[in-house]
């Protein structure tokens, strides 16, 4: 199969959906003239014009608020947040308007829109340009949340998100943009709400998503060397997360480790761990393990950033200790 980058995959998804549906348009800062900081909008303005790929003022509340309004009035906006870190600027629009409008108006309207949020650590971007804040949105009813880990899912999930009649937040990792992977030619959709067992195994379930999947694979390899067969589940969607796949895997392997780049405390892993502790504790042969960032903001200096970042070797070591438990 052909290989393209994650960024290219999102470009294809966007272009295909824009050709298919004239109601789809994209708005955000520096996406038309620049093509996005990470190239994820490159060339779109050339094909679709500045009326459908719209550079906005630096006004995040307007970007999200206007997307909600346009969605209610029959359009299908895709709003770019520039950095996930800036979602806080538009948090009211995201959680009090976008998420609630359908419900609090008794289903009178739909809010079909996508919020694209580049997240994660990248080259010492420091405290305000490196965050992964997906956990907050797991606590907010009315939004779907996806976080693809590879180009194929990036394309399929973005297309599904654009076609979804609900608001969808699409977290895309900054490091992943440049990574290549096999992507089928042409049309396909990746279903929202379905996790994927990307590697079968019988000894431990490793759950991750987005960039955390890179560590998941490395950890699994290290474990393999020690004779431990890890099953890897790529969550892909955080809301609604795929409870069946998680339970099925944990019931099979009897052990669980959850990995994500975001802050561990109160992170998405907390919900997954709690869910398993509620619903399959009797299957567990060992403590649930969570791996995530320490409880500090993201530091600037490279050695500090490195110390902050997930460390596959250390994760594998901790898991191995857990096996002697």
């Amino acid at each position: 199969m052909r290989k393209i980058t994650f960024a290219q995959a999102t470009l294809e998804a966007t272009a295909e959906e824009m050709r298919r549906d004239s109601r789809v348009f994209v708005l955000g800062e520096d996406i038309a003239r620049q093509g996005g900081i990470f190239g994820q909008f490159k060339g779109l303005a050339q094909e679709f014009g500045h009326d459908r790929i719209m550079d906005t003022p630096i006004s995040e509340t307007a970007i999200i608020g206007a997307s909600v309004g346009a969605a209610m009035a029959g359009m299908r906006p895709v709003a770019d947040m520039h950095f996930a870190d800036f979602m806080g600027v538009a948090m009211d629009e995201l959680f009090n308007q976008m998420a609630k409008i359908r419900y609090m108006f008794g289903g009178q309207t739909t809010v079909p829109m996508v919020v694209r949020a580049p997240d994660g650590l990248a080259s010492s971007a420091a405290a305000q340009h490196s965050q992964s804040i997906e956990a907050w949105f797991m606590n907010i009813p009315g939004i779907k949340v996806v976080a693809p880990s590879n180009p194929a899912d990036a394309k399929g999930l973005l297309k599904s998100a654009i076609r979804d009649d609900n608001p969808v937040i699409y977290f895309e990792n900054k490091i992943l943009y440049k990574e290549s992977g096999e992507v089928p030619e042409g049309e396909y959709l990746t279903p929202i709400g379905k996790a994927k067992v990307v590697k079968e195994g019988k000894d431990i379930t490793i759950i991750s998503y987005s960039i955390g999947m890179k560590d998941a694979y490395i950890v699994a390899e290290i474990l393999e060397d020690k004779g431990i067969e890890a099953e890897i589940v790529d969550l892909r969607t955080l809301v609604p997360y795929d409870k069946e796949t998680i339970l099925e895997s944990v019931k099979k392997t009897n052990r669980l480790a959850i990995i994500h780049e975001a802050v561990k405390q109160g992170g998405a892993g907390a919900e997954i761990a709690a869910f398993v502790a509620e619903n399959a504790i009797e299957y567990l042969d060992a403590p649930i393990m969570r791996f995530g960032a320490p409880f500090v903001p993201v530091p600037f200096s490279p050695p500090l950033e490195k110390a902050y970042r997930l460390n596959s070797k250390k994760i594998a070591k901790d898991i191995l200790v857990n096996f002697n438990y």
Binding site: P57, G65, S67, V68, G69, A73, E93, Q108, T109, D165
Partner: protein
């Protein structure tokens, strides 16, 4: 005044009077404990919603505030369903999920009240953007208070509307108060409409207690906006007659101050005096309208009272499509 048809005059009166009686009714039943939640009354400001919405059709959009009953009614929402919603009944326009602070009727282009002060600007801007993209000959209107004019969203929407030349009309209801706060203690400028200068936007001040002045001002705005020139800013000067919410002890101002304004500047009384004084409508015609309104209010009340509350299982409905 010859330029106003009888029909139009009757519409003005009908809308204003209907809002007034609706609000009085809601106030009563709230105090009686029949209505849950919080209620913000539009009494004394009826001329604004009326003057504006009379010029709109159902394909035009409005985004409203926490004080949204008047806008909703003026925009032509079904009174029964509005009343039922405020009572929390399943027949309400939001199936009882929204209540007064989230009253909405999308079937007439009323995109919702908003519990977040200043939450409506950008929604209305987005609706205006949709209109523009769809090449429709419609407009979007956002109502907001003097207090709301200090939210950052005001600024972002004003700027966006201007640079994108959106068919959006800002209607500031400057009623002198933001809850307990006299507006000049928290708003840095005497005429909020002066702020339009900072966005290169056309502006006009109207007497918010004179339905004719509101209507004329808004018509001008509408013509301007529909010609594709971009957004327009209307500041309607008015006064909040009632407490901020029903039950507000109003310790921050005197009863006399309020009563004086209401006596001298009640938009309905002013309308009556004018049309009667200039023989545009007579007592009988006004009475007919009042009677019609009473019947509608009665019907809406009956509808609301007789409707069921939602069932507990409905809690889980209407979240995702």
């Amino acid at each position: 005044m010859l330029k106003y048809s009888k029909d139009l005059l009757k519409t003005f009166y009908y809308k204003m009077y209907k809002i007034r009686r609706f609000e009085e009714t809601v106030e009563k039943y709230f105090l009686d404990g029949e209505i849950p939640g919080f209620i913000h009354l539009y009494i004394g400001e009826e001329a604004i919603a009326t003057g504006v919405c009379t010029l709109l059709d159902k394909n035009d959009y409005i985004a409203s505030t926490h004080r949204g009953h008047g806008h909703t009614i003026a925009k032509g929402a079904d009174l029964n369903r509005v009343m039922a919603e405020i009572f929390g009944k399943k027949t309400g326009s939001c199936k009882g999920k929204g209540g007064s602070m989230h009253i909405a009727d999308f079937s007439v282009g009323m995109l919702g009240a908003n519990g977040v002060v200043g939450g409506g600007y950008n929604l209305a801007a987005g609706a205006a953007l949709a209109i523009k993209k769809q090449k429709r000959n419609n407009v979007s209107v956002v109502f907001f208070g003097d207090g709301a004019s200090n939210r950052g969203t005001f600024h972002e929407a004003m700027n966006l509307a201007s640079v994108w030349k959106l068919p959006l009309i800002f209607v500031c209801e400057n009623n002198q108060w933001a809850s307990t706060t006299p507006y000049r203690t928290s708003t840095s400028v005497e005429d909020i409409s002066l702020r339009a200068i900072g966005y290169n936007m056309e502006r006009k001040i109207v007497d918010g207690n004179d339905v004719f002045d509101v209507y004329e001002g808004f018509k001008e705005a509408l013509n301007y906006v529909k010609s594709g020139k971009g957004p327009y800013f209307i500041e309607a000067k008015t006064y909040r007659i009632k407490g901020h919410f029903v039950g507000d002890p109003e310790l921050y101002r005197t009863k006399e101050e309020v009563q004086k304004v209401f006596r001298e500047n009640d938009p309905i009384k002013r309308f009556e005096e004018k049309v009667l004084g200039e023989n545009l409508l007579d007592e009988v015609e006004l009475k007919e309208i009042k009677d019609r309104v009473e019947i509608e209010i009665e019907e809406a009340l009956k509808f609301a009272f007789e409707s069921e509350y939602p069932e507990p299982h409905e809690l889980y409905e209407d979240l995702y499509v």
